[in-house]
C-alpha cells in the first residue's frame, strides 16, 4: 500500500515568520500535535510538535542526567521562565529541521520503519521530489489502516 492511500491531505501548516506563541495557539486550537513549517511554495522547511517545544524548555543539564531527581527546585517557576522565553522566538529557531519525510509512492512498511526510527515524532510528512508537502501520516493512521484492511474472519480468530 502506498503512503498516499492513508495520508491526511488537508494539512494545516505555519510559515517561517510565525512565532512560537502563534504556533502554540494553532496547536491548541485544533488539538494538533504536529505542525509542518512550509515556505510560500509549500516546500517543507521543518516541523514542530509538542515534544519539540517541550525539549526547548528543559535545560540541558537536566537532560544530561546529572540531576536525576530535583525535588528541591522550583520546577514550575523554572519551566515557566523558559516557556516565556520560548514564546517570543521564531518558529524556525526551534523547529525540527529534518522531520522524517517519505514519498507518496513509498510502501507502508518503510513508512512505519521511518516513523519508528525517529524517536521524537509520531508522524511522517509526505512530500514530492521537490519537498512540497503533500500530506501527513500519524502512527494512529497506520494502525487504523491495518485495522480496516483485516478481513472480518481473521479478526474473530
Amino acid at each position: 500500500m502506498h503512503a498516499s492511500r492513508i495520508m491526511v491531505r488537508d494539512v494545516t501548516t505555519c510559515g517561517p515568520e510565525d512565532t512560537v506563541a502563534e504556533v502554540i495557539a494553532i496547536l491548541n486550537e485544533h488539538s494538533f500535535r504536529i505542525l509542518p513549517v512550509v515556505d510560500g511554495d509549500g516546500r517543507i522547511l521543518g516541523a514542530v510538535n509538542t515534544l519539540t517545544l517541550l525539549s526547548h524548555i528543559v535545560p540541558e543539564y537536566i537532560m544530561e542526567g546529572y540531576l536525576q531527581s530535583v525535588p528541591f527546585a522550583p520546577d514550575i517557576g523554572l519551566l515557566r521562565k523558559h516557556y516565556r522565553e520560548l514564546l517570543g522566538k521564531r518558529i524556525t529557531d526551534v523547529m525540527d529541521e529534518n522531520p522524517t519525510t517519505v514519498r507518496e509512492d513509498e510502501s507502508l512498511l518503510s513508512v512505519t520503519a521511518a516513523m519508528i526510527r525517529h524517536d521524537r515524532f509520531e508522524y511522517v510528512l509526505v512530500a514530492d521530489e521537490e519537498r512540497r508537502l503533500k500530506g501527513v501520516i500519524s502512527s494512529s493512521d497506520i494502525l487504523r489502516a491495518l485495522d480496516r484492511f483485516i478481513p472480518e474472519d481473521e479478526c474473530d480468530a
Partner: protein
C-alpha cells in the same frame, strides 16, 4: 642524565645501584629504571590508556627487569596513603547519596538572599570547605549541577560560578591532610599529622581564598545582575526536599565527625590516618544497611565498592613501585644533590624553588606522579639541612605548590577537567584558553601569597 651524574662523581648513585639490583641481560639498572619512569609518565600524558594500567605495567616491568625484587616493590607501596584514600572514597560514596551536598549548596545560595555575587561567594566557600575534607572531584561533581540550576533560575552566565568553584576546590583541598592526594602522600611519607597540616597549612588558605574571590569580583562580579523575579525564584528552592535519606544522613554525619575528630587526635593516639579512614568506612558500611537482610547488605556493599575509584588506587600502587625503583638505583639522590647544588645549599632558595617548580609543574602535568617523585627527593635533602625536623617547611612548600598549581590550567587538576566535561555536556563549554588566561594569573597570585607566608613564618 643519570650517566652524566655517575661520571661527574656521583659515587652514591652507582654504589647504591649495584648493591641493590642486578638487571636483566646486563642492562644498566639506572637506565632501565629511568626509562620506565619516563615512558610511563609520557604514556600517561598521551591520555590514550588508563593510567592505572600503565602504572601497574611499569611496576611489573620494574620487577621483571630485576631493578626491584617483589619484596622491595611491596615495601615501597605506601599503604597508609592507599588505605586513607580507599577509606575516604567509601565514606564519600555513601554520603553523596544522602543529598547532603545539594542541601548545603541551596541553603548557602538562599542565605545570600538571591544576590548573584553573594551566591557565587557562598557556593565557592561551600566547595572549598567540602574539598578540604572530602575528595575534590566528588565535591565539584555534586555542586556543579546544582550551580547550573541556580544560575539558570537567576538568569546569569554560569561560567564565573563554575570558574570560582574549580579554584575553590583546589584551594580548599590544600588546607588539610586529607584534602588532596598530594597532601595525603606528603603527610604519610613525611610523617606529618592531620594536626600538623591544620597548624601549618590551614591558616593561609582563607587568605588565599579571600584574595582569589576579590580578584574574581574584579573579573566577573562587578557586572552580575539578576532581576527581582529571578531572586524570588531562588528563594523558592526548598533545600529540605534535597535530603533523600535522613536516616542515612545522620549515620554519615556521625561517621564523618568521628573520622575528622580521629584524624585530629590520631597523632596523640599513635594512629595512622589510614586506620581511622578504613575503620570509619567499615563502620559506615555496617550502619548503612543495619537491620536489612544479608542479601541486601551484600548488594549494598558491592554497590559502594563499585563507586570506589579503583583507577586512582591502582595508579598509586604502581606509581609507588616505579618511584621506589628509581629511588633504589640512586637517581633520586643524585637529583637531590643536583638541586642542592643549583640552590647553593641555601634553605630559603630551596624552599622557594620547590614551591614555584611544583606550582608550574602541577599546572601542566598530573601532580600525583610529580609529588610521588618529589617526596623521596626532598627526603634525600634532609641530611644537608640538619635532619627530617628541619626540612618541615619544604613539605609545606611542596604541598602549597603542588595543590595550588592545579589551578594553573584547565588540565591542572582532575576537578578542573571534571567540571569542564560536565559544563560541555550541559551546553556551557569552558574553553582551555578562556579558563587558563584568568586561572593561571590567579594561581600565580596564590603562590606569591604562599611564598610570603612561608618566608614570614618559617624562613628569613
Amino acid at each position: 642524565m643519570p650517566e652524566a651524574g655517575s661520571q661527574a662523581g656521583g659515587e652514591a648513585l652507582h654504589a647504591s645501584a649495584y648493591a641493590s639490583a642486578h638487571a636483566l641481560f646486563g642492562l644498566d639498572p639506572v637506565w632501565v629504571a629511568v626509562s620506565l619512569l619516563l615512558v610511563v609518565y609520557a604514556a600517561i600524558m598521551m591520555e590514550k590508556f588508563n593510567r592505572a594500567v600503565l602504572s601497574i605495567l611499569g611496576a611489573g616491568l620494574m620487577i621483571l627487569s630485576g631493578v626491584l625484587t617483589q619484596e622491595a616493590a611491596i615495601r615501597g607501596i605506601d599503604f597508609n596513603t592507599i588505605g586513607l584514600l580507599t577509606g575516604m572514597m567509601v565514606i564519600v560514596a555513601i554520603s553523596q547519596k544522602t543529598g547532603m551536598f545539594q542541601y548545603v549548596a541551596i541553603r548557602a545560595a538562599k542565605a545570600a538572599g538571591g544576590r548573584p555575587w553573594g551566591i557565587l561567594v557562598m557556593l565557592a566557600i561551600v566547595t572549598a570547605v567540602f574539598s578540604a575534607f572530602l575528595d575534590n572531584v566528588t565535591t565539584v561533581l555534586l555542586i556543579a549541577p546544582v550551580t547550573l540550576l541556580i544560575t539558570d533560575a537567576l538568569g546569569v552566565n554560569p561560567y564565573p560560578f563554575l570558574f570560582s568553584q574549580i579554584l575553590a576546590s583546589n584551594i580548599g583541598g590544600t588546607a588539610t591532610l586529607i584534602g588532596d592526594p598530594p597532601n595525603i602522600m606528603i603527610g604519610s611519607q613525611a610523617r606529618l599529622s592531620f594536626y600538623d597540616f591544620l597548624l601549618n597549612l590551614t591558616p593561609i588558605i582563607p587568605v588565599i581564598m579571600l584574595v582569589t574571590l576579590g580578584l574574581i569580583w574584579l573579573l566577573f562580579g562587578r557586572s552580575m545582575r539578576a532581576t527581582p523575579e529571578a531572586q524570588k525564584l531562588i528563594m523558592e528552592f526548598n533545600e529540605r526536599e534535597a535530603i533523600e535519606d535522613a536516616a542515612l544522613l545522620r549515620k554519615c554525619l556521625l561517621v564523618l565527625a568521628l573520622v575528622i575528630g580521629g584524624f585530629t587526635a590520631a597523632h596523640a593516639l599513635h594512629l595512622e590516618p589510614a586506620t581511622i579512614a578504613l575503620f570509619g568506612a567499615a563502620l559506615l558500611l555496617l550502619l548503612q544497611t543495619w537491620g536489612q537482610d544479608l542479601h541486601a547488605k551484600d548488594k549494598a556493599f558491592e554497590g559502594v565498592m563499585a563507586e570506589v575509584e579503583w583507577t586512582t588506587i591502582f595508579f598509586f600502587v604502581g606509581l609507588f613501585v616505579i618511584v621506589t625503583g628509581v629511588e633504589r638505583v640512586g637517581v633520586i639522590a643524585w637529583l637531590a644533590h643536583k638541586t642542592l647544588a643549583l640552590t647553593g645549599g641555601d634553605f630559603n632558595a630551596t624552599a622557594a624553588a620547590i614551591l614555584w617548580i611544583s606550582a608550574i609543574a602541577s599546572a601542566v602535568i598530573d601532580n600525583i606522579p610529580f609529588v610521588a617523585t618529589m617526596i623521596p627527593l626532598i627526603q634525600n635533602m634532609a641530611p644537608s639541612f640538619g635532619g627530617p625536623e628541619a626540612i618541615e617547611p619544604l613539605w609545606w612548600a611542596l604541598a602549597l605548590g603542588a595543590c595550588l598549581g592545579g589551578n594553573g590550567s584547565l588540565i591542572g587538576a582532575s576537578a578542573n577537567l571534571i567540571v569542564a566535561g560536565f559544563a560541555q555536556r550541559a551546553g556551557h563549554p569552558i574553553g582551555f584558553l578562556q579558563f587558563t588566561r584568568h586561572a593561571f594569573a590567579l594561581m600565580l597570585v596564590s603562590i606569591v601569597i604562599s611564598h610570603a607566608y612561608l618566608y614570614l613564618r618559617y624562613l628569613s
